[in-house]
Amino acid sequence: MDVRLEPQGKSIKVAGRRRVGDLLVSLGLLPGTVMVIRGDELLTDDDVIEDVDAIELRAVISGGAR
C-alpha cells in the first residue's frame, strides 16, 4: 500500500494487508496523534487496509504559541 505522511510530505510503501491499529504500531505512531484517511473516509483501528490501497496519515499535533 502507498502511505503518505502529512504534513511531512513523505511517501512510503508498506507491503501486505494490514489492520489500521497494527499499521500505526509498526510505524511507531501513538493512537490519537494521526488521522487515517482513505479517499474521503476516516478509518478506525479495526479497519483493514488492502495492499492496493492508498492512505494518508495526517498528524493532528500542532505546537508553538497558540
Binding site: 502529512e6 504534513p7 501513538l30 493512537p31 490519537g32 496523534t33 488521522m35 484517511i37 473516509e41 476516516l42 478509518l43 478506525t44 483501528d45 479495526d46 479497519d47 495526517r58 493532528v60 499535533i61 500542532s62 505546537g63 508553538g64 504559541a65 497558540r66
Partner: protein, 308 residues
C-alpha cells in the same frame, strides 16, 4: 467498530471515552460537548458578539464552525504574522472558510501596523524563541482588535492537548501566577481587556482535526516552520505517551486541576494593572509586554545600524 449512538459503522474512535461514532453522531457529540463547556463555564450568551481568533488551522476553524452552527454571533480575526509562505497559506484558508460559510473575517497584518514588525524579525532581534515573541504579539493584537471592535468576548481554539501541555509545563516549573490564570474563562482584569474564553478546552486535538475533516473544512495542514523544537511539542509528546498507556489521562489532568487545584492557586492576591505609557493598553509596569518587545527590537536595530 460501531457507533455508540446509532450502531452505524464508526469513523472516529475516542479511546479516552471508550467510544466510537459515525460521521453524523460525532459532529453532534462534538458540538454538544463544546456547547456544554460554554454553558458550564458561563463563557458567553447568545446575546453577545464573539470575536474568534482564527489562524487557518484545524482548531480555530473547527471552533468557528461549531459556534456558528450553534447559533452564536461570531466574527473572525486573522492576524498576519509575516511568516512567509506559511502565513500566506494560513490566510487563504481562513478567508476561504469565511467566504464559504458566509461569515465576516477581519484581517490584521502585523506588517501594516505602525510598529511594522513580523514574528521572524522580532525573534531574530531579541534572541527570543519565535513562539514566545509570537505569543506576546498575538495577545497584544487580539486585545486591541477586540477592544476596537467592541467585542465583549475573544474566543481562541486552544484544545485539551494545549491545556494539558501548558499545565504540565506550569507544574514542572511551578509557575504559580500562570497556574492561577490557567482556566477556560479569563475575566478581564482591566477595562481595556475583554473576556477570553477557550471553548475547546475539553476536546482533544484529534477531535478538532476529525471534526474539521468530517465537516469538509479546508484547513492548513502544514505546521508553522517556527514550531520545530518548541517546548510545547515536547510536553505534548509526553502527554500522548501517558494517554496511550492510560486513556483519559489528559482529560482528568486538566479537568481535575480546574476542579480541585485551581482554586488554591487563584486565591493568591494579584497586583493591579496600570496602562502602558506607549500604547495605552493594560500593563503591569511602565510598558506592556508587547511594547517592551518592540522597544528591544528598536534598540537592537539602532545598535545594528551603528555597527554597520
Amino acid at each position: 467498530m460501531k457507533c455508540r449512538r446509532c450502531t452505524a459503522k464508526a469513523v472516529v474512535q475516542l479511546r479516552s471515552h471508550n467510544a466510537a461514532f459515525c460521521r453524523e453522531c460525532f459532529v453532534f457529540v462534538f458540538q454538544r460537548t463544546v456547547e456544554r463547556s460554554i454553558d458550564h463555564e458561563r463563557m458567553f450568551t447568545r446575546d453577545e458578539r464573539i470575536l474568534v481568533a482564527v489562524s487557518g488551522g484545524k482548531d480555530s476553524l473547527a471552533l468557528w464552525d461549531t459556534l456558528a452552527a450553534l447559533g452564536y454571533a461570531t466574527e473572525g480575526l486573522y492576524l498576519g504574522l509575516g511568516i512567509g509562505r506559511y502565513s500566506s497559506a494560513s490566510q487563504r484558508k481562513a478567508e476561504g472558510y469565511a467566504a464559504k460559510a458566509g461569515l465576516r473575517l477581519h484581517v490584521v497584518q502585523l506588517a501594516d501596523e505602525s510598529d511594522a514588525v513580523g514574528v521572524p524579525e522580532a525573534a531574530a532581534f531579541t534572541h527570543r524563541q519565535p513562539c514566545a515573541a509570537c505569543g506576546t504579539m498575538k495577545r497584544h493584537h487580539f486585545d486591541r482588535a477586540a477592544l476596537a471592535g467592541g467585542f465583549p468576548v475573544l474566543a481562541t481554539g486552544h484544545n485539551l492537548d494545549d491545556e494539558a501541555a501548558r499545565l504540565l509545563g506550569n507544574v514542572l516549573h511551578w509557575q504559580l501566577p500562570y497556574l492561577a490564570k490557567q482556566q477556560p474563562v479569563l475575566a478581564p482584569s482591566h477595562a481595556k481587556f475583554v473576556r477570553k474564553v477557550r471553548p475547546l478546552y475539553r476536546t482533544s486535538e484529534y477531535e478538532s482535526a476529525t471534526y474539521a475533516f468530517l465537516r469538509g473544512i479546508d484547513y492548513v495542514v502544514e505546521e508553522c516552520p517556527n514550531s520545530h523544537g518548541a517546548t510545547q511539542l515536547i510536553y505534548k509528546d509526553l502527554m500522548n505517551r501517558l494517554e496511550a498507556a492510560m486513556p483519559g489521562t489528559k482529560h482528568s489532568f486538566v479537568t481535575e486541576f480546574l476542579r480541585r487545584a485551581h482554586p488554591l492557586f487563584a486565591a493568591a492576591p494579584e497586583g493591579s494593572l496600570g496602562e502602558c505609557e506607549r500604547c495605552g493598553m493594560p500593563a503591569s509596569s511602565a510598558l506592556c509586554g508587547y511594547c517592551r518587545l518592540i522597544a528591544e527590537i528598536e534598540r537592537r536595530r539602532g545598535e545594528a545600524v551603528a555597527h554597520s
